[in-house]
């Protein structure tokens, strides 16, 4: 069944792709995030683990990417849908699928996002007209019509790619697995390195200079502990294979625990700063506000 995606799968995935953009605009439940896109696409395609891996990898790539001021962002959600669907249907390696399908699709979809936002201007003009005509129902109707360009901006490209792209992807996978193994390995390496971009973008939005010590702390603590945990795990696996009596198993490093240390530090900083606030902060609040804003915005360029 190489390259085959069944019609009902195509339809379900198209519906999900349209749902997720509306979710992301309105109630923002997180179901529109790449990790969820991976899980849902994986469930529809019959391999949830593969979906989770691809969704997780793309999630890390776009960690710091947000939509600010109405700018279009790289659409990692649609990228995840296509990467997961094709990777499962054609047997492509997860990391390779992230770099070979996920990222190109995600960046191509910026164009359809722009198109959707542009098309909505048409309904804005009708909305303006309805206000002049005092047609309240008409106003609400035309406002809600905005859903159509939004949903189609994801639905049409995802449907076309899933329905007609399968053969092409199967062909690419065949070549990648035979003549061009070096490229396949390279794309897998790229997939493993891509989270670095997500973290770098995120740091661009954060006051790195101000909190630089905490960057070093988080990095070093985790680098050391992850080495220790990984080594203990491989030691345990090795020991278990030679000694039958050895049945202990060691867990991986818990990220939540590492985050809690950071949370403690943040809590401390918050309490210190609130303690410094004057008792009647209604008048003294204004100059303090400028300080805080400057620190955040100053690091963005």
């Amino acid at each position: 069944m190489s390259g085959q995606i069944l019609l009902w799968q195509v339809i379900l995935l198209t519906i999900y792709s349209m749902y997720q953009i509306i979710d992301d605009l309105t109630f923002i439940s997180s179901l529109a995030q790449p990790v969820w896109a991976g899980l849902i696409t994986g469930a529809i395609m019959g391999n949830m683990t593969q979906g989770l891996i691809i969704g997780g990898s793309l999630q890390l790539t776009v960690l710091g990417v947000g939509t600010f001021g109405g700018a279009s962002k790289i659409d990692a959600n649609s990228g995840t849908i296509l990467a997961t669907a094709f990777s499962i249907s054609s047997g492509m390696n997860a990391q390779t699928a992230v770099a070979a399908i996920g990222v190109p699709v995600a960046s191509l979809m910026i164009e359809t996002d722009v198109l959707g936002r542009f098309t909505n201007t048409f309904f804005q003009h009708r909305v303006d007209k309805m206000i002049e005509e005092e047609n309240y129902r008409g106003f609400e109707r035309n406002y809600l019509y905005g859903t159509i360009p939004w949903a189609l901006s994801r639905g049409i490209p995802v449907f076309i790619a899933l329905q007609f792209g399968g053969g092409l992807v199967a062909q690419i996978v065949k070549v990648l697995n035979t003549q061009m193994v070096w490229l396949s390995n390279g794309l897998a390496t790229a997939g493993a390195l891509l989270p670095a971009v997500g973290f770098a973008i995120l740091l661009r939005y954060l006051p790195v200079k101000k909190h630089f010590a905490y960057l070093i702390l988080g990095f070093t603590l985790t680098a050391l502990l992850s080495t220790v945990f990984t080594n203990i795990q491989s030691l345990g696996t090795g020991l278990a294979s030679v000694a039958k009596g050895f049945t202990n198993s060691f867990s991986a490093m818990p990220m939540v625990a590492i985050s809690l240390i950071g949370f403690a530090l943040a809590l401390n900083a918050y309490k210190q700063e609130v303690g410094k606030l004057p008792a009647s902060h209604s008048t003294a609040a204004a100059p303090k506000n400028d300080d805080g804003d400057g620190e955040i915005n100053g690091d963005e360029d």
């Binding site: 509306i22 605009l25 109630f27 439940s29 997180s30 969820w36 991976g38 891996i53 890390l60 710091g64 600010f68 001021g69 790289i74 770099a99 909505n120 201007t121 804005q124 206000i131 106003f139 035309n142 406002y143 939004w150 390995n185 390279g186 794309l187 390496t189 390195l193 891509l194 670095a196 971009v197 973290f199 770098a200 973008i201 740091l203 954060l206 006051p207 790195v208 630089f212 960057l215 988080g218 990095f219 603590l221 985790t222 680098a223 992850s226 080495t227 490093m253 590492i258 985050s259 950071g262 530090l265 943040a266 900083a269 700063e273 606030l277 902060h281 209604s282 506000n289 805080g292 955040i296």
Partner: protein, 272 residues
């Protein structure tokens, strides 16, 4: 001068606005007025009650509220709550103030909201969820869903809060908000440091053979500082993003090309 109808907003009005905000905000988003029509859509039933249908006042208010508006979609109803408190008290006379308020508050609100809700929380929770996901564990996804449901509750409550407190509360809270932002960014920077060390799985597979001696470069690097390569990679990309004409999308493609080339040369590989 109050409005002609003397209408006072009730809990039911807030529920209606909150429903419209949670399920239908931003649907009309477009390049011309961005969230402008959405702002009006959320409060239209209340404006109709305040001014009365087919009155010149309502038309004036609708025109004003249909203008350009864009802010963080998590905190937008804060502004709408303050706005309605003013309009309820002063009617159309307040519209000049309302315009100033909307334009004055949307920038700072976007700055605070985007930093906390659109950047930090998704980054931290998303990283934890993604970290679990790449190991095949879906429970992080449900943590994220639960966090966002809690945020929805917060979004639901803030409208009435802003309406009651009006402008004074917004300014009073500023000090605490700044302390919160500072603490949140501290946590963000710390977590990113931790993520760099745990989630970028690349190493140097290059092994030098000098006579009978083999030198495994990665082993030597590990003695200096484990995870040095991921750290350096992030530092390089961070620097690259600061260059002129560099966008995040371009950076992603540059990283893919460099990774493929380095991998083909045996300089960079995916760690186990």
């Amino acid at each position: 001068m109050a409005t002609k109808t003397n209408y006072k907003l009730t809990k039911k009005d807030f529920r209606q606005m909150n429903r419209r905000n949670l399920f239908m905000n931003q649907l009309g988003w477009n390049y011309e007025k961005m969230q402008g029509s959405g702002y009006l859509f959320i409060m239209l039933p209340q404006l109709r009650k305040l001014y009365g249908d087919h009155t010149p006042e309502l038309k004036q208010a609708m025109r004003v509220q249909d203008q350009f508006f864009n802010t963080n979609p998590y905190l937008n109803t804060m502004i709408q709550g303050v706005d309605l408190a003013l309009e309820e008290k002063e009617g159309v006379n307040s519209l000049a103030t309302v315009v100033g308020l909307k334009n004055g508050l949307m920038g700072p609100t976007a700055a605070i909201g985007d930093t906390i809700f659109a950047s930090l929380i998704p980054a931290i929770i998303g990283a934890i969820a993604a970290n679990m996901a790449v190991q095949g564990n879906a429970s992080g996804l449900f943590i994220w869903l639960a966090v966002n449901l809690a945020i929805m509750y917060f979004r639901w409550r803030q409208l009435a809060f802003a309406y009651k407190g009006g402008i004074t509360l917004v300014t009073k809270l500023q000090g605490q908000m700044n302390a919160l932002t500072n603490a949140a960014t501290l946590l963000g920077v710390y977590v990113v440091g931790a993520l760099v060390a745990s989630l970028i799985n690349v190493n140097i597979p290059f092994v030098a053979h000098i006579g009978k001696m083999t030198i495994n470069l990665q082993d030597h690097l590990d003695m200096i500082m484990p995870k040095l390569i991921p750290g350096l990679a992030v530092w390089l990309i961070y620097w690259m993003l600061g260059r002129k004409r560099m966008t995040s999308t371009r950076a992603i493609f540059i990283v893919i090309i460099v990774a493929v080339v380095c991998s083909a040369l045996g300089l960079l590989g995916k760690a186990a």
